[in-house]
Amino acid sequence: MIKIALKDIRIFLRDIKGLLLSFLLPIVLISLFGLAFGGLASNSAKDRPANIYVADLDSSTASIQIIQKLDSLDEIALTHIAFEAGKENVMSGNKLAMLVFYQGFADSLENGGAEPVELFYDDARELEASLIQYALISNLMEIMGSQSIRKKILKSVNQRFPDIDSITLADITHEIDLQFSPASNEEDTLAVATTIGPQIGSLKVSPLARKKSIDWALIQSFAGTAVMMLLFGVAAIGSSLLGEREEGTLKRLLYAPMNPLQILFGKMLYSMLLATVQLIVMLTFTVWVLGLEINGNLFYAFLLIITTAYACASFGVFIASISGSRKQSEGLATIVILIMSAIGGSMIPLFFMPAFMQKMAVVTINYWSIQGFFDVLGRNAGFMDIALSLAMLVLIGTAMTVVSAILFRKHIYKVA
């Protein structure tokens, strides 16, 4: 097995074009994606926009009800936390944002005053924060209901026009009732809320400066590009197994006194070694040249590199084992890799995608690897935090290896 891997490494090192494609191209792409994502907004992240903390300092019936309603929405998920702890986590980059209901929220809601609600967010993830801000405003408006808004409008009218006569006031009240009646459509309500937002129903937003700078764009471009390029690389190695069959060397290997599966595992070992070296080179480049600051444990990063390399290597032999010829394997690999990269977050950061696509992403190697790298490189995650990513990569890799082994054994007789 090792001899087969060493032979392939020797052949690979003689292939200058292959070397360039394996190392230089990913580095160029990481740099380009890094620039592109950085220019768009200097952030990118793991969490879905609405997965945030909530600190309920009011603990009133009104605040509890509103939190429950917000939490029941599909696009928002809230986790309760103490105010200081939540702030600390946002500042550490562990969570995108925290919604705070201050003491007196219920009274303000009843009296028509400005509700003391504030959204703290990670200033390094401004784009995501703006998405959640929009979602919160529209949902808060809807939940807090027309009663609060009516009160606020009337209070505003009274303050601006203290001498208004009772008939005009009655007309205004009637008009407001019409506008906020259940029959009135959602678009209109939102339009009113947006127009008068600064005065009523607005959400105070406060960016929190990071304790330590994390370049999410670079992590995204490194992890996304690296996994995609690895997949292309290992698919080529996998198809070389079919090349051996076509050129007759596979048959000769089968004459040798060894288990036929050692040939398959030899190819996998070579793929894995190459993928590991590629990932280490790409990460080193991203750190040293592009300036990524690693906030996590390097050993965990290495674990993730190994498991990613294993899953990718399995993918390479899996594609080869289900293909009839080298050309078929190359064509199939290209299609599958592009689809996996598109839905798995290699091409576009996951938070840009609709919820159903984010759910689909979990079947891809790209998704688990990228999530793992975000956790390890950006969030200083512990072992248990990355355990799921590691386990899923091993699981996907093992499933593909088992299928490949079964199909490879079956194909031996075709070789003969």
Partner: protein
């Protein structure tokens, strides 16, 4: 050395091997001949442990090929028809790789690789990439790779296809040396002259069965013909040739202005043929008496040419 008993193998409804029995002694240079699809490759694939037979057994030096495959693989070297080598590696690296694959320690593999390259007169090109080699040189490396682990049996499937005469001659010399060292060689080829020249015994396989087996002399006797009268005419018309064929024997072979007549009794058959030719006013340029070639034996036994 090799004992094949009642070997059968089918692929779906196609019977590739239909009960082959064969015994090959140690040091024998055995030629296995047969038209395409006769069952040669299937026999070799079973012998080399790549395929499992449906019935029958093969033992090599007492080891059952199926039950003791690992041991048998060590005893066998295979030089396949394809150039099963890595063109991006040098000749030396190729031999090292195949040697190491058979469990030869690094130092020992290095020594043997150099010896092999010397034996095949390729030591001056040992560090050249295989892709820079000529077809004949690659063929030589192909055989060297099969011999690197010093097997007792060498299976060769058309080892000289597309080889220039110089390389071919060099290969024959090395194979003769292997045979003299006691290595059993099983050789399949389409070149009859190679079999006649190299093989001490020949097996003819057709439709999955060994239809004849023995030395060349034994095969000649087995085919029932020992001599061939070849008469070359001057300005003969096809009609006249056809007339002669009908009068003498349906087994007369006509080609261009030649008539070939297989017979077991030249003295009895030649005079009437000359006399009848004179009657027809034909001018005989020359007459030769030849021993039956393997090609004609093969043709008479299988009814097919080797490449059919």
């Amino acid at each position: 050395m090799i004992e094949i008993k009642g070997l059968k193998k089918s692929f779906g409804k196609t019977e590739a091997i239909r009960g082959v029995d064969l015994a090959i002694s140690k040091g024998e240079f055995f030629g296995l001949l047969g038209p395409n699809g006769a069952g040669k490759t299937t026999t070799i694939n079973i012998l080399s442990t790549l395929l499992k037979p449906d019935a029958g057994t093969i033992t090599i030096d007492g080891h059952d090929v199926q039950r003791d495959a690992a041991k048998c693989k060590q005893l066998i070297g295979v030089a396949p028809q394809e150039l099963a080598l890595y063109s991006e590696l040098t000749a030396y690296e190729n031999l090292m790789f195949w040697g190491r694959l058979y469990g030869i320690p690094h130092e020992e593999a290095a020594t043997r690789s150099l010896e092999m390259l010397q034996l095949f007169e390729l030591d001056n090109r040992r560090n050249s990439l295989l892709k820079t080699f000529s077809g004949g040189m690659k063929r030589r490396v192909n055989i060297a790779a099969a011999m690197i682990h010093r097997p007792q049996i060498l299976l060769m499937d058309e080892p000289t296809v597309g080889v220039d005469p110089q390389s071919r001659h060099q290969i024959y010399q090395v194979l003769a040396q292997f045979a003299s060292e006691g290595i059993t060689i099983i050789y399949t080829t389409h070149y009859m002259d190679e079999v006649e020249k190299l093989c001490s015994r020949i097996g003819i396989i057709d439709h999955g069965e060994i239809i004849a087996c023995g030395t060349l002399a034994e095969l000649r006797a087995f085919s029932g013909d020992s001599q061939l009268i070849v008469v070359t005419f001057e300005n003969i018309l096809p009609d006249q040739l056809e007339m002669l064929r009908k009068e003498f024997s349906e087994s007369v072979i006509i080609a261009d202005d030649k008539l070939s007549y297989k017979t077991g009794n030249v003295a009895a058959d030649l005079p009437p043929l000359i006399s009848r030719s004179a009657d027809l006013g034909l001018v005989i340029r020359h007459v030769t008496i030849e021993h039956t070639t393997l090609e004609t034996i093969f043709l008479s036994l299988t009814g097919r040419k080797l490449r059919e």
